[in-house]
């Protein structure tokens, strides 16, 4: 596998024909918005005022479509931090350091210490406590992974600053007059107004990229298109980057990509509405997600 530098990939995206030709115009975005608003209205029908707004995130959509009981279990009792999540957050902070840190200080000190410095500056007490209380073997593993992530980030190359890179861009899109609230925090966004470059959404993962990650990126592209519909701005492409192998996978944001994301969100909203109204029992679907389900000990169907 050839590892490509991000600057080169962004240049290719900029030179490629705009996917607007594929139908992602204002009408297509408005049509998707109307379908989502209708699904949101169905989902909240009959709910009490104090049950609103209903939150819809990428993870909630994925859980509802993977195992409804997992979605129910994790919405009522947020799970305690596990090593996999900490690894992901360490990667996020190293990406932020790669994008927003100073090149001259990029390699001073151990990689894990860079992430810990960020957690302290954010006053992320839960994570800081987890890291300081974890056993030496886990800490050694995380430190080795962090060093590997920095090596892979070096191979990714600098993110061109004239694209105005920004990490942790927050988005909120309200559906059905705010009854359903969709929020997202994007790993990295580059380009768009006021730069001369196209808008590109970048997601970093500590493991290999899988279909669920592509679905998540498509949801982010859809939310971004809805959020900036008023100024007619839409993402041109998404980029998935794996810190596990350094692979960088661009995906044009076409109308089919957005429609697929909207269809998944509508299916999730329909299921969520049923569950919130108590219209039916949550379906249990055993699978890989059982490993981090809070009910894995008591669930009769756990894989």
């Amino acid at each position: 596998m050839t590892v490509r530098a991000i600057g080169e990939v962004l240049e290719q995206i900029e030179r490629a024909p705009a996917p607007v030709a594929d139908g992602v115009g204002a009408d297509a975005v408005a049509e998707l918005r109307a379908a989502l608003d209708a699904a949101a209205a169905r989902a909240v029908a009959g709910l009490a005022e104090d049950e609103l707004p209903v939150r819809l995130s990428r993870d909630r959509i994925a859980r509802l479509l993977t195992c409804e009981q997992l979605a129910v279990a994790t919405s009522s009792a947020p799970a305690a931090l596990v090593e996999e999540q900490v690894r992901g957050r360490v990667l996020d902070r190293l990406l932020h350091h790669h994008v927003h840190g100073r090149p001259a200080t990029a390699r001073t000190g151990p990689a894990l210490a860079i992430a810990e410095g960020a957690f302290e500056a954010e006053r992320d007490d839960e994570l800081t406590a987890w890291l300081s209380g974890t056993d030496p073997d886990t800490r050694t593993r995380l430190a080795e992974d962090a060093t590997g992530f920095v090596d892979r980030l070096d191979a990714l190359g600098p993110v061109p600053r004239d694209w105005w890179p920004r990490c942790e861009e927050r988005l909120r899109v309200d559906l059905h007059d705010g009854a359903v609230r969709c929020t997202a925090r994007l790993d990295l966004v580059v380009g768009g107004v006021p730069t001369p470059h196209p808008l590109v959404i970048i997601e970093a993962k500590s493991g290999r990229f899988a279909q669920e990650h592509r679905d998540g990126l498509a949801w982010y592209a859809l939310l971004t298109a809805l959020r900036y519909a008023a100024i007619g701005e839409r993402p041109t492409a998404t980029l998935a980057w794996s810190a596990w192998d350094g692979a960088l996978a661009p995906q044009a944001v076409t109308v089919d990509v957005l429609r697929g994301a909207a269809d998944r969100a509508i299916a999730a909203l329909d299921a969520l509405g049923d569950l919130l109204r108590g219209a039916r029992v949550a379906r249990r679907t055993p699978g890989r997600a059982c490993a981090w389900c809070p009910e894995r000990q008591s669930c009769p169907d756990a894989a």
């Binding site: 994008v99 927003h100 960020a118």
Partner: protein
């Protein structure tokens, strides 16, 4: 320069409303500066706390420290100011320079905290400032802003006769057209949004002697933009909020804390571990 007639009336109105509520505050002689250590400050924070659970003000102590999210707006506004003056570098580069300059040239508590950060912490702060500046710049439709526009303006007005000060911040002021911009990046209810709009209008008028023409609230996360002309209704909303905040703050400081009113704000309250009525 004397205040505009409407603002002169507004100052009288504010004094008449707030003076009885602030009677226990330290007295201040005419044209004197209020004693700093006895000054009661009414800011956005006091307004929000009083509107949610006034009793929460009893748990307020000293500022419990900086974090990246708190530094976001202050440094991000400095980045915007430079962009407005024609800086051509990107927000991250400018934010890193702003951070350096704050450490080198300021004696503020923010500067002291920034000086303690390692490269990971500094990158987190730079990230926040760069996002804020980029998101605000993307949200401002007309760029560059008119000459004389300022970013991060503080307004303050002292209640005559008592050591009580109303304070408000405007994220941008277009002085030419008297437009005030307030930038937010979190969720709020309808009342909170109205306070966001009304409070800077009132304090800017009391402070400068000139009535702002309009206030715009820009939500960086949702993109919602609401612009209201500064009418008597808007000023009344702010005066009502001020009265409630002064009453609650004075009660906490000089008499007995008000009754609790638990709600979603309990999550952010410093008294959540000891309050018997907490709802988390």
């Amino acid at each position: 320069m004397p205040p505009e007639p409407r603002v002169a009336d507004l100052r009288d109105e504010a004094s008449a409303l707030l003076r009885p509520l602030a009677d226990l505050a330290a007295p201040v002689a005419p044209d004197s500066t209020p004693p700093w250590d006895q000054l009661v400050r009414i800011r956005e924070h006091e307004l929000d706390a009083a509107a949610g659970c006034a009793a929460s003000l009893a748990f307020e102590g000293d500022f419990d420290g900086w974090r990246a999210a708190f530094a976001r707006k202050r440094l991000g506004l400095a980045v915007l100011q430079r962009l407005a003056k024609g800086a051509t570098a990107d927000p991250t580069t400018i934010a890193a320079d702003v951070l350096d300059q704050e450490v080198r040239t300021s004696t503020s508590s923010l500067a002291s905290w920034l000086a303690t950060l390692g490269s990971g912490g500094a990158a987190a702060v730079t990230r926040e400032a760069a996002w804020f500046a980029t998101a605000t710049r993307r949200g401002i439709r007309s760029w560059p802003p008119p000459r004389g526009t300022t970013f991060g303006t503080r307004f303050a007005w002292d209640l005559p006769g008592r050591a009580l000060r109303l304070e408000a911040s405007a994220d941008a002021v277009i002085w030419e057209t008297r437009d005030v911009l307030v930038v937010v990046s979190g969720e709020d209810d309808g009342d909170g949004e109205r306070r966001d709009l009304a409070w800077p209008a009132l304090v800017a008028a009391l402070d400068t002697g000139k009535l702002p023409a309009s206030v715009t609230r820009l939500d960086l996360v949702s993109g919602e933009r609401r612009r209201v002309p500064v009418t008597d209704d808007v000023l009344d909303t702010a005066l009502t909020a001020a009265a409630r905040a002064v009453e609650a703050t004075m009660a906490v400081r000089f008499t007995a804390p008000p009754l609790t009113s638990p709600g979603r704000w309990c999550r952010r309250c410093r008294g959540r571990d000891v309050c018997p009525d907490v709802r988390v």
